[in-house]
């Protein structure tokens, strides 16, 4: 069981009442991983939202050799109290990157997306607060991705002139 006090430190869950946190707690699972362990793979169905409670998780492309990455450097490290697995809230509902344990030990919370959406349907306040945060994370990744593409195309245009 995840401690409510720990849940309160998570950025995405800040401002939620004890009742709301308890509801989320009921659809969450606490897991531990070692460095190099894979949490999920790129392309897998994204049925969960994840939060780091301790340690660090690395997100990266994990494509077979010869298959190009969409952008050069998407690697990011997710630290304590941060959220990942945001692709569970947007089509095609598949993880865009693979996730690996990046510290000797990392503790994460895995929240079933379907249960979370049911909670949102019954509690619009919770839905609005959490979606605001999730959208911010999605937006950051989208900007990063789009900027990577624009940078590459911009470079091609400049060098082609």
């Amino acid at each position: 069981m995840i401690d409510l006090e720990i849940m309160k430190t998570v950025e995405a869950l800040k401002g939620l009442s004890n009742d709301q946190l308890t509801a989320i707690q009921k659809c969450s699972e606490k897991l531990e991983f070692s460095q190099g362990d894979r949490l999920f793979s790129e392309g897998e169905s994204s049925a969960h939202l994840w939060i780091v409670l301790a340690g660090e998780v690395e997100l990266r492309y994990d494509r077979p050799e010869g298959q190009p990455n969409p952008i050069e450097d998407p690697i990011s490290f997710i630290s304590k109290a941060e959220l990942f697995g945001w692709s569970s809230f947007m089509p095609p509902f598949e993880y865009k990157l693979s996730a690996y344990g990046a510290s000797q030990k990392c503790v994460v919370v895995k929240i079933k997306k379907e249960s979370l959406e049911n909670l949102f349907e019954n509690d619009a306040d919770m839905g609005f607060r959490l979606m605001s945060h999730i959208l911010r994370v999605i937006g950051t990744h989208f900007y990063q991705f789009r900027n990577g593409i624009a940078k590459r195309w911009g470079h091609d245009i400049m060098s082609g002139w």
């Binding site: 990455n69 969409p70 692709s87 809230f89 089509p91 839905g127 609005f128 789009r146």
Partner: protein, 249 residues
């Protein structure tokens, strides 16, 4: 005046009831722009969310000291689609510039502060709009991802409809112009085909452009000049030439 029926057709407002749509309507303002007009610039405060009502808007990255160009287009936004959603996401700054890409375009401009005020008053409205926005971003993500990774080979097919009705209306001139532009471009990977009548004789010559992951676009009443424009702007540049598109009705 924007009606609830228009807002209902916009993906990010899916699921809103009549009262919620009316509330959103109160934050809307319409604007008309001419080809090439800059609606907003990269890095500016994202004070509005936009919806294309008619025409096309291109989202482009700007290069220092260079004029804007189709080559800088990252996404083309067509009717009923929203853009400028940076207005809903911190740090509330537009990440690309928006340009009117059709002869004229009409857009609906929604004031960010008024809209987020509605979200605070009605959390369900806020939840629905933000969830829908996540879905819209997801689809754009997929589109851009495909553009970034796909090989251009066999992605594009141009079909000139060369039935008797089409030939009488001038389809051969259209085909000749297309082949000339193809040769000039050196893009041997673009597939050019001819086919029969599509059952729209009064709108001949017709040309269909199929780009992978996009809906096919049928152009009407084409001539050599229009074909050259469609080839450069749509086939090579990815921007649908809405002024020539066959009216589906």
């Amino acid at each position: 005046m924007i009606g609830n029926d228009f807002l209902q057709s916009v993906g990010i407002f899916k699921g809103l009831d009549e009262n919620q749509l009316s509330a959103v309507q109160g934050c809307c303002r319409e604007e008309q722009h001419k080809a090439g007009t800059k609606l907003f610039g990269e890095g500016q405060q994202a004070s509005h969310l936009y919806i294309v009502k008619t025409g096309q808007v291109d989202l482009r990255f700007d290069l220092p000291g260079r004029p804007t160009s189709d080559k800088n287009t990252i996404s083309s936004i067509l009717e009923f689609k929203a853009f400028g959603w940076s207005s809903l996401v911190a740090p509330y700054k537009y990440s690309l510039s928006a340009y009117c890409a059709s002869q004229t375009c009409e857009v609906v401009k929604i004031d960010r502060q008024s809209l987020t005020g509605l979200f605070e008053e009605d959390n369900r409205l806020g939840y629905l709009v933000l969830s829908n926005t996540a879905r819209v971003i997801g689809k754009r993500f997929q589109k851009i991802e495909k553009l970034a990774t796909a090989s251009p080979v066999s992605m594009v097919k141009v079909i000139v409809h060369l039935a008797t009705c089409g030939i009488v209306a001038g389809a051969r001139d259209v085909m000749n112009a297309l082949m000339e532009e193809m040769n000039r471009s050196g893009r041997a990977d673009i597939n050019v085909e001819s086919s029969g009548c599509i059952g729209q004789c009064p709108t001949e010559p017709n040309v269909t452009v199929e780009i992978e992951s996009e809906d096919p676009v049928v152009y009407q009443k084409m001539d050599a000049e229009k074909m050259r424009q469609v080839f450069h702007q749509h086939v090579l540049g990815g921007q649908v030439q809405t002024d020539f598109v066959l009216d589906k009705q």
